[in-house]
């Protein structure tokens, strides 16, 4: 296994970021104390993250293809399908340069790519199955084995409807995905849990207290541990991240995660 300390995400060695977004009917519910619903929160989170990734890739008057972005939507009308909209509809993975070439709209002087969507069941297991196949293909493509391990970010509010008895099917699927990796380590799986419950934002905990429900704990267990390099960079940049912290976020977004990656020279 190569050492991530010596690795910089670049256009020659890009990183795959794959979003799985819950678009089920329950995403119509209000998000915590906010005036908007969870679907809007998801759209905001992804648009913000794409913008942040763009900022890290803009260099010398151009956007470098340091990241390739996939969006898998699940639940809308009961299906699992590409979550890209507008000119990118139907694409599975899009380079960050192309993402900025085809924005969908503008909000608060920033480009947007995703609009809120909600309706149908929650086929999360099928979404992870698609993510596994897509990630497997991506790793096998070109020099991608020499790249940063893919980052899979699942954003959901609740219970998978195709998880099987005691969510065994879902857990097995996620475990299959966890077996994939590049020469720099296994894939990183993050789960962002959106809740209608009013509560504090929890970022990358290393344990879950009993006050959280069964599904919160399941999502926590499904998340991978932040790798040593992420913890090192996060600590250097002032985050209170400890060893064995997991990629689980409760009622927050993953913008902070970008600061845990070695992209070009940090500002």
């Amino acid at each position: 296994m190569n050492d991530l300390r010596n690795f910089t995400i670049s256009s020659t060695n890009p990183c795959l970021v794959l979003f799985l977004i819950d678009q089920s009917g329950s995403m119509n519910e209000r998000f915590g104390n906010a005036s908007h619903n969870k679907a809007k929160e998801v759209a905001n989170a992804i648009n913000e993250l794409l913008y942040e990734v763009g900022l890290r890739c803009y260099s010398g008057n151009d956007i470098k293809n340091r990241f390739e972005i996939g969006i898998i939507g699940y639940g809308k009308d009961g299906y699992v399908k590409s979550g890209w909209e507008g000119a990118l509809t139907g694409k599975w993975v899009v380079s960050i340069k192309n993402v900025f070439d085809y924005p969908l709209g503008i909000e608060d002087d920033k480009p947007t790519w995703i609009t809120p969507a909600a309706g149908g069941s929650t086929p999360m297991k099928s979404a992870f199955e698609n993510a596994r196949k897509l990630t497997d293909d991506w790793i096998s493509w070109g020099n991608h084995r020499e790249c940063h391990p893919p980052i899979i970010i699942n954003i959901t509010d609740g219970v998978a409807t195709d998880g099987g008895s005691n969510f065994k099917d879902l857990i097995n699927e996620v475990n299959e995905l966890k077996r994939l990796g590049t020469n720099y380590g296994p894939v990183n799986i993050l789960n962002i849990h959106l809740s209608d419950r009013v509560g504090d934002r929890v970022l990358f905990p290393n344990e879950m207290s009993n006050s959280y429900d069964l599904f919160s704990k399941l999502l926590f267990d499904m998340s991978t541990t932040l790798n040593e390099n992420m913890v090192r960079l996060a600590t250097q940049r002032g985050y209170n991240i400890v060893q064995n912290s997991k990629g689980y976020i409760y009622n927050g977004n993953a913008v902070d995660l970008i600061n845990f990656l070695n992209i070009g020279t940090p500002q």
Binding site: N2, N6, F7, T8, S10, S11, T12, Y51, G54, L55, R56, Y58, S59, G60, N61, I63, K64, N65, E68, D77, Y79, V80, K81, W92, V93, S95, F100, D101, P103, I106, D109, K110, P111, S126, E129, N130, K133, L134, D136, D137, W138, S140, W141, G142, R232, Q236, R237, I263, G264, T265, P266, Q267
Partner: protein, 350 residues
């Protein structure tokens, strides 16, 4: 002094004009400076150039004075005019980057006499003094100290923060006539911390091609970070000789062929299956909808047909009744006429 300057841009930048490291020297005053413009900040190569050019003209080793001077430079940088991209999404990134300012690390030295020099630095550019088999490094003693560095010269921060929030390092350093002084930006400095003997591979190089081969080999074997490389070697001998080993004007790294990733057949089929299922379901829904419509239409047609048939039957019945009645009436009339005729004949005979 014998001075060798090596520079190579990272392969992703393709051409030397895109290098974000800058250096400047004044051989008459024995002043040397390097600055590493950070990849992610706004027009950092311009900011890096401003820092080194100003330092060789006006070397400052007092931290307070240097901070005040850097603020003035930051103001000049902020007042420069830039054109935004025509794509609004990219222009929004540029505006945000501009707000955050230009960022660079800096290291400058000035020789005081034959065995002393001053240095001032901010950020992760490093200085090494090789003496016999000993290596001394400044301002960081080891790789961990370098990695922990959080300091840099950012134009926005210089204009808004107070001096003690930015860490500057300065010192007076002694050396001997056999010393080799090396100043380098962070990527090569990291390599020197891990393996100081790598300097031997660089030391005797006198042409760009050989330097490129050494650096590419280090990049390819992941021993050296793929970043802009700037190294200045200084040997304190009497003879003054400056050798600049830089990429020639016609040199560029090959353009990286970017192939769009397309999922393989296995996955595509799976995705297609999902999409096909969706299409089939939509077709089914459409067929059901059409079927309902046709059924309703058929029902209406049936109803109309039955109505027409019923009307026809009724018409026939009425016609039959009317005709029958007419026949009865006709018979009755004939009978009446016959009776009248018969009566009139009887009356006539009488």
């Amino acid at each position: 002094m014998r001075i060798k300057i090596f520079q190579l841009h990272k392969r992703a930048s393709q051409e030397y004009i895109h290098i974000q490291d800058r250096y400047a020297i004044s051989s008459t005053d024995n002043v040397f400076a390097i600055a590493d413009g950070t990849t992610q900040s706004f027009k950092s190569e311009i900011w890096a150039k401003m820092l080194v050019d100003d330092f060789v003209k006006n070397p400052i080793f007092n931290i307070n004075f240097y901070f005040e001077n850097s603020k003035k430079l930051a103001e000049s940088f902020t007042n420069l005019e830039f054109e935004y991209n025509t794509n609004f999404a990219i222009a929004s990134l540029e505006k945000k980057k501009q707000q955050n300012g230009g960022t660079a690390t800096f290291l400058g030295i000035k020789f005081i006499d034959n065995n002393k020099f001053n240095f001032l630095s901010c950020g992760d550019s490093c200085l090494f003094v090789f003496e016999d088999k000993q290596v001394t490094s400044y301002p960081f003693k080891n790789l961990d100290e370098l990695d922990a560095n959080q300091s840099f010269l950012n134009t926005s921060k210089l204009l808004t923060e107070i001096e003690n929030e930015i860490t500057f390092n300065t010192n007076e350093i002694s050396f001997n006539s056999k010393s080799t002084i090396v100043i380098a930006t962070d990527a090569f400095s990291r390599l020197l911390f891990k393996n100081p003997s790598v300097l031997n591979a660089i030391y005797n190089l006198n042409d760009f091609e050989s330097f490129k081969i050494v650096i590419e080999d280090l990049w390819n074997t992941n021993k050296l970070e793929e970043d802009d490389i700037s190294i200045i070697l200084i040997e304190p001998i009497e003879e003054t000789k400056i050798i600049e080993i830089l990429p020639p004007k016609d040199f560029s790294f090959p353009k990286i062929e970017e192939k769009e990733f397309i999922p393989f057949t296995k996955s595509s089929q799976t995705f297609l299956e999902v999409e096909n299922m969706e299409q089939i379901n939509r077709m089914l829904e459409h067929l059901i909808h059409e079927n309902k419509f046709i059924k309703n239409k058929l029902k209406l047609t049936h109803a109309l047909l039955y109505s027409v048939l019923l009307l026809l039957v009724l018409n026939f019945a009425v016609l039959f009744y009317v005709l029958k009645k007419a026949k009865v009436d006709e018979d009755a009339n004939v009978e009446k006429i016959e009776k009248i005729v018969s009566k009139s004949r009887t009356d006539k005979n009488k």
